[in-house]
Symmetry: C2
Subunit: 456 residues, 2 copies
């Protein structure tokens, strides 16, 4: 087996030592078995193709591995698979200065693309806390969201072209950067968010945006959760917003302690909203804030006076996930339509209070998109497996509420291993049957990230 | 057969008279045989489902029919199919004032949605000359583009949810208006642009945008075609633009004669660019214009001083298609990356001059998106079929240039019957094989718009 891999890759690009298997065999999740048989590091599309053809013949599963920052086990290899790391395919191959398109290998790190854009007075608008590690191939395969979705949409919106290797070893060069192309099914969009189960993204042509105007950030203290939505509504009426995030006091405590940050406001509030908008609207935002105080929705607020201050305020939101990582949180990443958020929150809160009376529950999320992150923190004394099982057992009660509100059990983290048993809360039996049939079309041997999305 | 249809539909919703068959059996094309066996007018999703199940049993093809403004024969029924008109499913069923989503039946007319949005201080940004007739179901099924793509993108960008009836009679309720939903393959995007070959769109949840700032329109005279692109480049550097169109002097002559419009500029130029931008940038646009005159790119320009004038200037571009309709033009609707447009234009122009020395060739299009409409006008004396055959025969020479530049043989008109023989100029054999396999998944009986996209 290893001989065959060595034939495709020069030997220093096949690793089988225990440390490498443990390192590249998993993502940020910690609750799944990690047991790959090898890790390979392709340099070229041709090597990926040869590998997939070999895997088809030998029926050995392949697990794509990007920045391994996933939170649903989408990049975990637990059954003797070969892990395909895109760490070496990390170059931006071409830049089109007229169309503003950067052709990226799958292993280009998100931040690398952001900086590449900035150096050309352009902007890559998909951003999130793990941008320093996550890779474009993984972003595309999970249709990554993050903190600017309300203004710029998901990763999908920025994919102008996609080169994929399917489960039969075919290379598809999809859309090639065209704005308009009405020639049948847009397969590009089928591979975006497919979590590598239909094929592997090897290159992506990423559209860059014009540089935005200078931005300001305001953090507001909001005692009652429904009023966070009221504040969102007011902002949306008055000005275009670039981000609208929220987090709870517990989340603030965790992140200020972990990153040694100052609290943003003199007095604590139960919840905080973080809003980003064009600096030109700062005056209007202050007036809006006063209005919100008068209405009793908001107690206090702080407005950034510089880019550095804006960045500091962003840390309060972006650092949360990292700050609670030591508690090995059980993550729920759910979404509903924005209109449904207030009722949904209330119902979920009731379940959570009843189900986890002894656990800390950390709320935050991209509430402007209807997306909530609900993190259950593990008490230090509790065994990890017991904790995981208990949370996993409670999840359906939350997902039933999601289903009732027509929402999604995975807003932006994907399905992977963590959510596959719960897929039917969001997708109908007919949809799941269709998805399985599509999987069969592109991956008839069942070798592309097997067991993710649905059981293999 | 008719009895079965009468059982599903009350009898006044099944038409078989010759006039109805001719009327509903075709779109705006005039070169394909029209021979449906009946036209039906469903009121409900359940009726569509029953019809599809019946068609599956009887192996009778179904052709979806919206506003019948298509230009590629996508809605032509030429082989005894049953035409499914969505004319009666023309209501906007719900409006979500928080998410700004309108739930439309397939037969809602584009302009109806535009006006519905406007009445709520919102904006439906997909717009084109046939907006007064075209229907949302057709827009979605062809991923309609039009004149605001450069700022707002294609129809795809505005589809928040989609209800489709597949070829097996399953109803799929896709995405349901969620901003974020990472639960496997996004089937919604597979049905957008599928031309009804996988299933029929019965409802679409359309995202509405905030009202734009007031707009200004400038029309510039540009003697040399490559300089149109230079002007586009300058505008893109200086300000966000909402539209960038171009048309040739011949197109201007046709439209001013047909609509009895005044010519925009005192002197004729070989080409004209029409630019729309925020009124706040009007001063900057005038400076830019002077700069373009100095560079020798532009001879003259006119800037709208009111919404009424802006509308009049738009007529010069929007009325072209209608003004040349009497010449039963052979339409090429091609696109390349924006960067490739100058070279591409030059090469196509050479072919066209050589191939059609005796025909009038009318150039116009959404050049800011890399999309050109190249219309060959039929001389009055020439027989229609001879003309069509001669043009169809020359098309490959244009498509070879498209292929060489990595472009699309159908930018926004779809494939239908007109382009299906040429699909391989834009999509690879592996892509076409994959598309056929997908068709098999959703339409195993081959009853959904048979013969469109590829031969049945």
């Amino acid at each position: 087996m290893i001989e065959a891999l060595n034939e495709i890759f020069s030997s220093n690009r096949v690793k089988t030592d225990a440390d490498s298997l443990a390192h590249w065999g998993r993502d940020w999740t910690r609750n799944f078995k990690v047991a790959p048989r090898a890790v390979v590091f392709p340099d070229t599309v041709e090597e990926v193709t040869a590998l997939v053809r070999w895997a088809g013949r030998t029926q050995i599963g392949l697990v794509p591995s990007g920045g391994r920052t996933g939170l649903s086990g989408g990049a975990v290899a637990g059954n003797g698979e070969v892990v395909v790391s895109f760490d070496r395919m990390n170059r931006i191959l071409a830049f089109d200065p007229v169309d503003h398109i950067a052709r990226c290998q799958a292993g280009v790190v998100t931040q690398q693309l952001q900086e590449y854009a900035k150096a050309r007075d352009l902007f890559y608008p998909v951003d999130f806390a793990s941008a320093g590690s996550s890779q474009i191939g993984g972003n595309v395969s999970t249709n990554a969201g993050g903190i600017k979705v309300i203004r710029y949409g998901m990763t999908r919106n920025w994919v102008a072209g996609l080169k994929v290797v399917t489960g039969t070893g075919e290379v598809l060069d999809l859309n090639r950067g065209l704005v308009k192309n009405a020639t049948g099914y847009d397969l590009r969009h089928l591979f975006v968010g497919a979590e590598g189960t239909l094929g592997f993204v090897v290159e992506a042509e990423m559209q860059l945006a014009p540089l935005p105007d200078p931005q300001s950030v305001m953090v507001l203290g909001v005692p009652r959760l429904p009023d966070v939505l009221a504040v969102l509504g007011r902002f949306r009426e008055i000005m275009p917003i670039s981000a609208f995030e929220f987090f709870s006091e517990l989340a603030l405590q965790k992140v200020t302690a972990h990153r040694k940050l100052k609290r943003p406001l003199a007095e604590a509030a139960a919840f905080y909203a973080l809003v980003e908008f064009d600096r030109a609207n700062a005056e209007a935002a202050l007036t809006l804030f006063e209005d919100c105080v008068e209405k009793g929705w908001v107690t206090d607020a702080v407005l950034s006076q510089s880019d550095a201050q804006a960045k500091d305020l962003w840390q309060l939101r972006e650092g949360i996930s990292e700050s609670i990582a030591p508690y090995t949180p059980y993550k729920n990443d759910v979404s509903v339509r924005i209109a449904a958020v207030p009722r949904f929150l209330e119902e979920v809160d009731a379940v959570v209070r009843a189900a986890y009376p002894d656990f800390e529950v950390c709320w935050y999320g991209h509430i402007g998109d209807g997306n909530l992150h609900l993190n259950i923190l593990k008490p230090a004394a509790l065994d990890g497996t017991v904790f995981y099982e208990r949370c996993h057992h409670i999840s359906p009660r939350i997902f039933e509420i999601v289903e009732r509100h027509g929402g999604s059990i995975s807003a932006e983290h994907g399905v992977g291993l963590l959510k596959r048993d719960f897929l039917a809360y969001t997708r109908s039996p007919a949809e799941i049957a269709a998805m399985r049939a599509l999987k069969q079309v592109f991956d008839p041997h069942g070798i592309m990230n097997p067991g993710k999305l649905f059981p293999s």
